[in-house]
């Protein structure tokens, strides 16, 4: 027999550490570490090694590089990426930067796109992806947060092909991803959903014909053609009522009058006002849309904590009139029309909060919340961590300073968060969640409502990674454990070891984390693709820069490689994250990160200054403030007003006026006047340069005004400084990143 010495599989290529430059970009202790469980001294820990996992990464965006890094660090040597044409040939200089790191051509595969343009193409593409995986000896697929990650057909096809999907299984995808099914499950496991009534017409009918027999008699009398299935006596009587109504629409008759319907709506509204004191109610015609056929009632009760029965009665009395208006507006007031009206609680001030979930099919664990309320056009901009520990600390601080309003507000936040976390775990277990998912809620004051579950890892997952790590302990020996700080790593572990993984404990890592999405948009946040990045300053301590690899230098020359922001997928360039002991510290550091970020290029527009202004706006006001999802648009409007105002100011003219003023002051002493004039000349740019920068960029000005509002008062149009203006000038230089830096070109310091 031939001596079969161990041969290196040609595909097992040693992972080359990125060009051994120990910069914070390629070697950041916050996100990079040796994750090889196979190196552990514990047998139990070693048994969770994932080195035989061979994942094909089918996505792009910052997550692609992150997955490559994490897999490499886990000791997974056989992973590959699937490029789309937009990564390589559609635009010059937009070549996937990850290729500088992954130079083994055998691990780079290609498809025209990930999901196809049509349904047929999508099915064909799914098969192509599976074939690519099989032909190249991969045994798992990771789809990041792309479209495919939440496609249950895609996941099912992967499972059927005998490959592992690194993400929730198709069963979970179906149970949690489909909105109607998810809502049903939510109700079953006592998860708070938007309260409302969607069958007021059936209820109206039931008031007239309260029993099954009476309804059946009606069917007979009116000779209604009714589906046999609805006659099943085991079904709730409401369903029979609905079926009877549908039959009546077909026949073109009314089974109740509009008056009867209005009375029922009024009754339901009364009940809802009682159940949700201080809230308004939204009425929606079933056939409405685009804002048509909607009315809100209960304005008089708004903010009333304990409305009296009389107040409620008065408010509900508006309902009949509004119902008539609505039906008239959508023209369903004729005989035989479906006159159903949805009665829903009106969500006033909504915040977008989400809970990070992780599970293995048997257990599910909530990993704190993320507040993603700062968004525009449904695009998230700033995401911040919300944890029970963090809130408890803030409550203690607020109590100490005797700030009652803040204490109350934070306590309500804590209660809501606890409830959301409990519900999310119940929900996760109910849908058999066996990977990472996000439980999304809207929060309105002290109420929250479940919206949907995203059955995939999300863009902002690192916010959670920074506040919690996971401790997996051997059930037989509490001193035998390993710690996971990456959700991408946790997903790989779950894909490989699923049931064997014990429920982890969540361990606090940093007190708070924040993420700013750096997008290719102009200062009004309109998309602006097509620019070139030619220089990006090195990351600073405590900065995580998930930039798809744009900052990976040419591995040979070490020079920055220009990158064309072609806007192939979306406007996102990078995610900038940081952490702190508490939210204030994380905001402070995010401000530092944004300030120190120098991005240069041609035709380049980003929302960097927007973020810098906004973060400092919060620092100046209150970092614990609770902005709603409707915050950004009015904020931008005000920033626009600021620009209008600031453009009326001529700094040089003002400076010369000041010089004249001093000339008059010193008029008596020619010598002193001359000295004053010379001195002022020397101070010209010192003063005018920062002022011009502030006045030219309303985002910078917005943040600066917010930070400094405590430093001055305005009386009778005169500004008086409450602190030494020289110190404020120094801080302004700091704020504008204009303090002397040894390594920076002086032009960059003067004109940051």
């Amino acid at each position: 027999m031939k001596n079969r010495s161990r041969q290196l599989n040609p595909m097992e290529v040693e992972i080359k550490p990125m060009a051994k430059n120990n910069t914070l970009y390629s070697n950041n202790p916050l996100i990079h570490k040796d994750r090889r469980l196979s190196r552990s001294s514990s047998e139990w820990v070693r048994s969770f090694s994932c080195e035989d996992l061979k994942p094909l990464i089918v996505c792009r965006g910052p997550i692609r590089k992150e997955a490559m890094d994490v897999y490499g660090e886990m000791g997974i040597s056989h992973f590959g990426i699937l490029l789309s044409e937009k990564d390589s040939i559609v635009y010059p200089n937009a070549l996937s930067p990850e290729l500088r790191q992954l130079t083994d051509n055998r691990r780079v595969h290609r498809v025209p796109d990930y999901s196809g343009a049509s349904k047929e193409e999508r099915i064909e593409r799914i098969q192509q992806i599976i074939d690519t995986a099989k032909d190249n000896d991969y045994n798992a697929i990771f789809a990041g947060y792309g479209f495919m990650a939440e496609d249950d057909e895609f996941v099912a096809a992967i499972e059927d092909a005998g490959l592992k999907f690194i993400g929730p299984c198709s069963g979970t995808q179906r149970a949690a991803g489909k909105k109607d099914e998810a809502k049903r499950t939510a109700l079953q496991v006592d998860v708070s959903v938007t309260p409302g009534i969607d069958n007021v017409t059936a209820r109206t009918l039931l008031k007239k014909y309260p029993s099954r027999d009476e309804l059946l008699a009606l069917v007979k009398a009116q000779k209604l053609a009714i589906d046999k299935k609805s006659l099943d006596a085991k079904l709730p009587v409401e369903e029979l009522a609905d079926a009877v109504l549908f039959a009546s629409y077909d026949k073109g008759i009314d089974l109740f009058s509009i008056e009867e319907l209005c009375a029922q709506v009024e009754e339901e509204c009364t009940a809802m006002f009682k159940g949700y004191p201080g809230a308004r109610i939204r009425l929606k015609a079933i056939g409405g849309g685009g804002g048509k056929g909607q009315r809100i009632l209960g304005a008089s009760l708004l903010m009333t904590k304990n409305p009296s029965d009389r107040q409620i009665k008065e408010a509900a009395a508006d309902a009949p009139g509004l119902v008539r208006e609505i039906l008239n507006e959508v023209k369903t007031n004729g005989v035989g029309d479906n006159k159903n009206v949805l009665i829903e609680l009106n969500i006033e001030q909504t915040r977008h909060n989400e809970i990070q979930l992780l599970g293995n099919g048997q257990w599910a664990i909530a990993l704190g919340g993320r507040d993603c309320s700062l968004q525009m056009h449904e695009q998230k901009l700033l995401e911040i961590s919300v944890t029970q520990e963090g809130l408890a600390d803030e409550i203690a601080k607020a109590e100490k300073t005797g700030n009652k309003t803040q204490t109350e507000a934070l306590k309500s936040d804590l209660t809501v968060l606890k409830r959301m976390e409990e519900e999310s775990e119940r929900f996760g277990t109910a849908v058999g969640l066996d990977s990472a998912s996000t439980f999304e809620c809207i929060v309105d004051g002290d109420r929250h409502y479940f919206m949907e579950v995203n059955t995939r890892i999300q863009v902002e997952h690192r916010v959670t990674e920074l506040v919690y790590s996971l401790k997996f302990t051997n059930p037989e020996d509490k001193n035998d454990f390993f710690i996971v700080e990456s959700l991408v790593e946790a997903m790989a572990l779950l894909a490989r070891h699923k049931e064997r993984l014990p429920r982890p404990e969540r361990m606090t890592r940093f007190g708070a984390a924040a993420e700013a999405r750096l997008n290719a948009t102009d200062c009004s946040l309109s998309p602006s693709a097509g620019g070139y990045i030619r220089y990006w300053s090195k990351p600073i301590e405590g900065e995580i820069r998930d930039d798809q690899g744009i900052s990976i230098p040419n591995p040979d020359t070490g020079l920055f490689m220009r990158y064309h922001l072609a806007g192939a997928y979306d406007s996102n360039i990078a995610l900038l994250l940081t952490r702190g002991d508490d939210r204030a510290a994380s905001y402070d550091h995010l401000s530092t990160v944004l300030r120190c970020t120098v991005l240069r290029g041609s035709n380049l527009a980003t929302n960097l200054k927007f973020h810098y202004g906004l973060v400092n706006w919060f620092i100046g006001n209150n970092v614990m403030a609770k902005p709603t999802t409707r915050f950004v648009v009015p904020y931008l409007t005000l920033v626009g007003k600021l620009k209008e105002e600031s453009q009326r100011l001529d700094v040089i003219f003002a400076f010369l006026a000041m010089k004249k003023h001093y000339g008059k002051l010193y008029a008596a002493d020619a010598d002193a006047a001359k000295a004053a004039s010379a001195t002022l000349d020397r101070k010209g740019t010192l003063l005018t340069r920062p002022m011009e920068l502030l006045l030219n960029d309303p985002h910078l000005l917005s943040g600066w005004l917010s930070l400094n509002k405590k430093n001055f008062t305005i009386e009778n149009g005169q500004v008086s400084w409450l602190r030494n203006p020289l110190v404020i000038l120094e801080e302004t230089y700091e704020y504008l990143n204009m303090t002397w830096r040894k390594d920076a070109p002086s032009a960059e310091i003067m004109d940051s």
């Binding site: 080359k16 060009a19 044409e85 390589s88 040939i89 010059p92 200089n93 070549l95 290729l99 500088r100 130079t103 083994d104 051509n105 290609r110 025209p112 030619r534 220089y535 040419n554 591995p555 040979d556 020359t557 020079l559 490689m561 240069r600 041609s602 002051l665 010193y666 008596a668 002493d669 010598d671 002193a672 000295a675 004053a676 001195t679 000349d681 020397r682 010209g684 740019t685 390594d743 070109p745 002086s746 032009a747 960059e748 003067m750 004109d751």
Partner: protein, 574 residues
């Protein structure tokens, strides 16, 4: 305010004055005397060029968003500059010009920069000579030169001396042209000699908000009565459109960083190779993307006439997809770029069908000629990529002298002595093929993609190739119409109507026959077969193997190439 007037001052009365002591550390100081005085004087002289400049002068420079010469040097390198003749000039202040040797990425680079804070960086009676000395030294030692131009021109009080100064510098720079490469950054406002001198260099980089030109707008106004802004007269937009500026950049920092990047592709001198850079990008990396790009283009509804951006092919061939385009905004029907292939610097000259079908006009011809000649002089191998329907014909081009411009391009290509490869991507017709690095003009290797359409003429060529067939077809028209009319009348059609119908039918027949000939022409002649058979093409190469085949062949030629100064008969040029 206080009652008594206080005279403001920027002197800090509390600041300790810094005394420099000239003692050896650990030495017990003895009696001080004349020696210390001389040391002090010497120390002051050393500090003079930097310290003697009034802060207000620096502020003025900063106010214009410009850096001082010393600040600019810091952008070029972290290492301390080795400054020469720093007390040149009767004021012992270096005479408004800084010259020195820099260490940039481990390479010695000669540098000059006008110091605008000293007499506006003007050229006076003697500093032209200071400049000339630096240039001579750069040529002698064989190190590249970077110039940071920011000069108001000749120092008028210096009289004719300033003009002589310029003439001396012109001459020195011309003498090192072709010996060492030079990169010129244009800062500030340079007129007259201040713009001729830098354009004698190899590459000119110009930021926004700068001007250079024969004369400033003031002179234009007084001589021609024309109102014009410096931007419109000699800004980067104007100059990068003509090729006077090779690289337009946003600002000074970008200019200096661009200079460093460009330098990484240039050799020190005309007798050494450009820096080799070991690469982690495998030479046998398959270029799948090129295949996808061509497939998408040629299978699209416009078929083989579909334009595509050739820079994507250059990108895929180069190490890690990194390349550096020269004159990237001008005449982009031809792309000229430096890149590395297997670590060796290569000059790429590619027809770009995405712009005017890649047709070569006066601008692109001159752009190619200058780039090719530079690579030739400095031992940089060349890869030509051909995909053009030819030279752009017409009255305008003739009036601009396309014959002369095209000749420059041809001359520069014929002259090339460095390794040179031609890769035909698609179209290679007629005169453009003949003048574009084929075997007869001296190519080392001609490769072709299977999509190659090498022919004497484009589709119009059928008129000549199928002359007899076409004559026969067209000659038959009369007869055919007559026959068809007869047929129709026989069948009972009215005379006029029959004629009309017959003519229509015959026209359709003719069109179909001509299309068939077109297809036949494309099939029989617009392909690489004849070129292969005649040895005009050495071999076909598949799109996915481009990096490997180009890289391996380049390595072969480079193994047998010795860099040297170009010694040849001086031929007429331009």
């Amino acid at each position: 305010m206080s009652k008594t007037t206080i005279k403001p001052s920027l002197q800090n009365p509390l600041a300790a004055t810094e005394e420099v002591e000239f003692t050896i550390p650990g030495e017990i100081a003895g009696q001080t005397g004349g020696y210390e005085e001389v040391m002090k004087e010497g120390y002051d002289l050393i500090q003079r060029p930097i310290k003697s400049v009034a802060v207000s002068q620096i502020e003025k420079q900063h106010f214009k968003k410009r850096m001082t010469v010393w600040e600019r040097i810091k952008v070029l390198t972290d290492s301390e500059p080795n400054i020469l003749f720093q007390n040149w000039g009767k004021n012992l202040d270096g005479a408004s010009l800084v010259t020195g040797i820099l260490n940039i990425g481990g390479r010695d680079v000669a540098l000059y920069g006008h110091d605008f804070t000293v007499r506006a960086g003007s050229i006076d009676a003697t500093n032209g000579q200071k400049l000339a000395r630096l240039m001579h030294m750069a040529g002698e030692k064989g190190i590249p030169l970077i110039g940071m131009n920011d000069s108001a021109g000749a120092f008028v009080p210096a009289g004719v001396g300033g003009l002589d100064g310029y003439a001396e510098a012109f001459t020195a720079l011309r003498k090192i042209s072709g010996v060492v490469p030079t990169i010129m950054c244009m800062f500030g406002f340079n007129a007259g000699g201040g713009s001729y001198l830098p354009r004698q260099g190899s590459f000119v980089i110009q930021p926004e908000d700068t001007f250079f030109g024969l004369t400033g707008p003031g002179v234009v106004k007084s001589v021609l009565g024309e109102d014009i802004t410096p931007e419109e007269l000699g800004g980067p937009k104007v100059h990068s459109a003509t090729g006077v500026t090779d690289l337009a950049v946003p600002d000074e920092t970008a200019a200096l960083r661009t200079a460093v990047r460009l330098l990484s592709y240039l050799p020190d001198n005309n007798h050494s190779m450009a820096p080799f850079q070991e690469t982690s990008d495998p030479l046998d990396r398959r270029t799948w993307e090129i295949n996808t790009l061509l497939k998408k283009a040629f299978n699209s509804p416009t078929g083989f006439n579909t334009p595509f951006d050739v820079s994507i092919i250059i990108q895929q061939v180069c190490d890690h997809g990194d390349y550096f385009e020269v004159q990237p905004t001008r005449a982009r029907e031809a792309i000229t770029a430096f890149g590395r292939l297997g670590g060796n610097v290569v000059g790429f000259v590619a027809n770009n069908s995405a712009v005017s079908s890649g047709q070569i006009d006066c601008d692109s011809a001159v752009k190619i000629a200058r780039f090719v000649r530079f690579c030739n002089i400095y031992n940089i191998p060349l890869i030509f990529m051909e995909d053009t329907t030819g030279f752009l014909p017409g009255r305008e081009q003739e009036a601009r002298g396309i014959v002369q411009a095209g000749r420059s391009m041809l001359d520069s290509i014929v002259d090339v002595r460095t390794p040179r490869i031609l890769l035909i991507l698609r179209n290679a017709y007629g005169g453009a093929y003949a003048s574009y690095n084929n075997y007869p003009t001296g190519a080392d290797l001609v490769l072709a993609l299977p999509t190659t359409r090498l022919a004497v003429m484009g589709p119009a060529g059928k008129e000549f190739v199928y002359k007899t067939e076409l004559r026969k077809l067209r000659g038959a028209i009369k007869q055919r119409v007559a026959e068809a009319v007869q047929e129709r009348v026989k069948a009972g059609m009215d005379g006029d109507e029959a004629k009309k119908d017959a003519e229509k039918a015959v026209a359709e027949w003719l069109k179909a026959e001509e299309t068939a000939l077109n297809t036949r022409y494309e099939k029989e002649l617009m392909n690489p077969k004849e070129g292969l058979a005649l040895g005009s093409i050495s071999s076909l190469v598949m799109p996915t193997d481009l990096r490997k085949v180009l890289g391996e062949n380049l390595n072969f030629f480079l193994r047998h190439y010795q860099p040297s100064a170009w010694q040849d008969v001086q031929r007429e040029f331009h």
